[in-house]
């Protein structure tokens, strides 16, 4: 019972911090829109219209939702490093709740932040690229699945790093390949074999594909396969994350 109360306490703290950092909320929403118009507009003009159905911007939109979710959540791990630096983490780690609860509280907190931004972007998508209200809901569900795995990666790395700079270097080094190899910006069909293999090995690809299926009805893999892969990815990352939190030192 006190574990649940503790879980709620940690989530509530994360949520309040998120609410109070307006710049974080605004940039989380502004950035995807910039990508959609500047990248989507520029590249869209030179994309072969035979390779994709509909406009490039509509094609890009699910990838941008996934991008917003994965960047926001992985960098969320930075707050663990920061909390430890300013000694706030100590208060939580000496409390009589398990590290697993602390981890899940943080996952929930990070996922909530990501859900709020994803919801706003998806609703904007209704106006910008004509997504259906049902698409908004299923899109949110898929964003949540992606968020759980990505927050876990961020928290795992955060548990090991003592400096903000070290964390940032490693995360940047890791997240750009994950993003560029996810087929968020281009279609899966017609890639050369080496690239296609790398894209297929990337779990984020399946989240982007599911998102594309849910929002604009264009998925490359069966949705069930997409969800299975993302679900497995979540389970593995959560396990790794709880292990990292249990051995985390102050």
């Amino acid at each position: 019972m006190s574990e649940i109360e503790g879980l709620y306490a940690i989530w509530l703290r994360e949520f309040k911090v998120f609410q109070r950092e307006r710049s974080r909320v605004i940039s989380a929403i502004a950035q995807p829109i910039i990508w959609l118009f500047l990248l989507g507009g520029g590249i869209g003009a030179s994309v072969d219209p035979d390779k994709i159905t509909g406009s490039y911007q509509a094609f890009l939109f699910p990838g941008i939702v996934a991008m917003s979710t994965m960047f926001g959540t992985v960098f969320y791990g930075l707050y663990i490093v920061w909390d430890r630096k300013i000694d706030v983490l100590k208060e939580i780690l000496v409390a009589p709740i398990s590290r697993i609860t602390v981890f899940f509280g943080k996952v929930l907190g990070g996922a909530t932040d990501a859900m709020i931004t994803a919801a706003i972007i998806l609703v904007l998508g209704v106006a910008l690229v004509g997504i259906s209200p049902v698409g908004v809901l299923t899109g949110l569900g898929i964003a949540l699945m992606l968020a759980v795995g990505m927050v876990s990666i961020g928290l795992t790395l955060g548990a090991f790093f003592e400096s903000m700079e070290g964390f940032q270097v490693i995360v940047t080094f890791m997240i750009f390949p994950l993003f560029f190899l996810s087929a968020a910006l281009y279609p899966l069909a017609g890639l050369d074999p080496a690239m296609a293999a790398a894209v297929r090995a990337n779990p984020v690809t399946y989240a982007v594909d599911a998102m594309r299926g849910a929002l604009i009805g264009q998925s490359y893999f069966p949705i069930a396969l997409d969800l299975l892969v993302v679900g497995l990815f979540d389970v593995v990352m959560v396990l790794v994350g709880t292990w990292a939190f249990r051995r985390m030192k102050l």
């Binding site: 019972m1 006190s2 109360e5 503790g6 709620y8 306490a9 940690i10 509530l12 703290r13 309040k16 911090v17 109070r20 950092e21 300013i86 000694d87 706030v88 100590k90 208060e91 939580i92 780690l93 000496v94 409390a95 009589p96 709740i97 398990s98 102050l250």
Partner: protein, 339 residues
């Protein structure tokens, strides 16, 4: 609360240390400490910087693993049952660990939830503690707008919030004004009286240790070099000193008194080392006979004297050359405190 009830230790012992040791590479920060702290006791750990006070507390609250020996807190082994130890303890850290992105009240609510303080009690206790540390009018302000002293007070309120059986206070009243310190001492004494709470505190303030602690352990180079009640420690120095200003002191008459251990003449006065000076003062006057006494001064040894005797230096002295880290933070506290 069944989980926090004592076990495996003799009744009446809150903390039991046997050969407790902490090494960092070649450095032995805590060196085979044996100590029992009784239930309901206010125990003070006094020592210069780097003596091992904070390291000892860190091990007892399970933040740092112990290198050797055994430590039982509330009957639970810190190495084997850290979860139960944590449920038994309240901690006020030396470094600020208050969340500055939350308000004062939110910090207390967070803590109450983390420690499972039941909802009906929570509100009332938060009110009580906000009043105690004089932050009621700022309860809804973000802590980042607080001065160092205000953060410190909030931190103390937080440590007391869940009424744990054992509370560790690492330099609790550093940078606080005398009035707030008085309030906090009173609250500590009240908690001890009403709840039987055990307190372990470290402090640099000698008068705090003297006024508040039932027993004091002086720690130096990771070892406890002296242990006892403030009175025992002071008596160990050989009692009081009586300084008499007089023109023709009858030195032989003074030497003949059974309770006088030493007679000195310096700075134009007679210095007598005396047991129970106040009780024996009339007999000293009798021994002076017809000789006129111009002035009398009774000096009691202070804990500061005890400290110097055992560690070879003043407790405040090391602060002067400590550059950063601990001392830097202390200075920040003092500098940012507006009270």
């Amino acid at each position: 609360m069944a989980e926090t009830s004592p076990r495996t230790m003799p009744e009446g012992v809150a903390i039991s240390l046997r050969g407790l040791t902490k090494t960092f590479g070649d450095l032995t920060a805590v060196d085979h400490i044996d100590l029992d702290v009784k239930r309901g006791e206010i125990f003070g750990l006094l020592g210069p910087n780097g003596a091992g006070k904070t390291t000892t507390i860190s091990m007892l609250v399970t933040i740092r693993p112990i290198s050797d020996g055994k430590a039982l807190v509330n009957g639970f082994d810190v190495s084997k049952e850290p979860h139960k130890v944590r449920a038994s303890c309240g901690i006020v850290f030396q470094e600020p660990s208050i969340d500055t992105t939350l308000t004062a009240r939110e910090n207390l609510e967070l803590h109450a939830r983390l420690y499972g303080v039941p909802k009906p009690v929570r509100r009332q206790r938060i009110e009580e503690l906000l009043a105690l540390v004089d932050l009621k009018d700022r309860e809804d302000s973000l802590v980042k707008t607080f001065s160092g002293g205000m953060k410190r007070r909030l931190e103390i309120a937080r440590g007391l919030l869940h009424h744990p059986p054992i509370i560790f206070l690492d330099e609790p009243t550093l940078g606080l004004d005398p009035q707030t310190r008085q309030y906090i001492w009173q609250y500590i004494e009240r908690l001890r009286k009403e709840m039987g709470t055990t307190f372990v505190l470290t402090t640099h303030y000698m008068e705090e240790a003297d006024r508040l602690c039932d027993r004091i352990g002086i720690i130096d180079h990771g070892k406890i070099v002296a242990l006892g009640t403030p009175k025992e420690l002071k008596d160990f120095l050989g009692g009081d000193t009586v300084v008499l200003q007089m023109a023709n002191p009858p030195l032989d008459a003074f030497k003949a008194l059974p309770f006088v251990s030493k007679v000195d003449v310096r700075e134009g006065a007679v210095w007598l080392s005396v047991e129970k000076a106040t009780a024996n003062l009339p007999r000293i006057f009798q021994a002076a006979g017809a000789e006129e006494i111009l002035s009398v001064e009774v000096r009691r040894p202070t804990l500061e004297d005890v400290f110097i005797r055992h560690t070879g230096r003043s407790i405040r002295q090391p602060e002067a050359d400590a550059g950063e880290g601990w001392f830097g933070q202390v200075m920040q506290y003092t500098a940012t405190s507006n009270r």
